[in-house]
């Protein structure tokens, strides 16, 4: 087979779809985290290239609302990737411990959510794997309660996305 030309959005989408499939099929959580993390590494820049707001920048806006200080995008991404176990699953330096601590079930879910937010910004919610995962989280994370908590936020926080448009 000869070389084929691909758009990076298709590469990210493929990896994210596989991550969602593996998650919903209860397959290896570390593989899910790795794939969702790789998809995020592409999707964030594509969202920025499209002139839209990526997950990372929305997160940074929320931190600014809460603390008055906005972290750099690089610092925010590093922190989130560390929290979700993405970095430790693809790196191993000579002096790194041979053991890691991670709640992989929740980390896998969070890593998918982060990538999915950016994917939806570019391609919407129509793909079956997107609908499947959104439905899963709505049920598993008690969607009505999450919306109640969201609606209790100050109007300014709810309108952060609109404020920067």
């Amino acid at each position: 087979m000869a070389k084929v030309r691909y758009h990076k959005l298709d590469l990210a989408a493929r990896q994210l779809e596989t991550a969602v499939w593996m998650f919903l099929e209860s397959k290896d959580r570390f593989s899910v985290i790795t794939l969702a993390g790789a998809a995020s590494g592409i999707l964030m820049q594509l969202v920025l290239n499209a002139g839209k707001l990526p997950f990372a920048d929305y997160g940074r806006l929320i931190i600014r609302e809460q603390s008055g200080v906005m972290p750099t995008r690089e610092k925010y991404n590093k922190r989130v990737s560390d929290l979700f176990g993405i970095n430790v699953l693809k790196h191993h330096a000579a002096d790194d411990p041979p053991i890691v601590e991670l709640s992989e079930e929740r980390a896998a879910e969070n890593a998918i959510i982060r990538a999915l937010v950016d994917y939806i910004e570019l391609r919407g919610q129509d793909a079956p794997f997107v609908k499947a995962f959104l439905q899963y989280t709505w049920v598993a994370r008690n969607g009505p309660e999450v919306m109640k908590a969201y609606n209790a936020q100050p109007e300014r926080v709810k309108r952060l996305r609109d404020l920067i448009k």
């Binding site: 990076k8 593989s31 590494g41 290239n49 699953l89 693809k90 053991i99 601590e101």
Partner: protein
Amino acid sequence: MATHRKLDIATGQLRSAVMLYCTGRDRFSAITLAGAADVILSQLLVNQGKQNFSDQLMKKEAEVTGVLPKRAVHGRAINDMLMINAMKHLDPGEDEYLEMDVRVSALATVGKALANYYALVGAETADATDFMTLFKLWAQAFTPKGLDLDGNPIE
């Protein structure tokens, strides 16, 4: 918070990569997963004082050129050639398109990680895994005469 051995994490990633490759379900993801597993397995080998697959390639290259490249530089060049980095990064200003032969890149990435896994855990443990068995069966079925220099099955 649960505790996990890096070796077990890499083994899980590698198993997923082999399954995705051999079934043809998603060879792009096979590259990412085998690439991540390989980083961990390569370092675990070095920590045990053993040579990993890249070290062996570096030595062969040095026999031809007379110069032993630095491990980090050599590793980065191989990762770029196999498209491992392209599968997980997009930098500002970088081309949003790329050209690749996903079958060849994925096969090479999975094969490299399997070679390191084999060297790290030994033949007996490696051969007892379902993913090593699957990969060998796949190779017998689809590349019975081996691969040519471009990574295509010999007719």
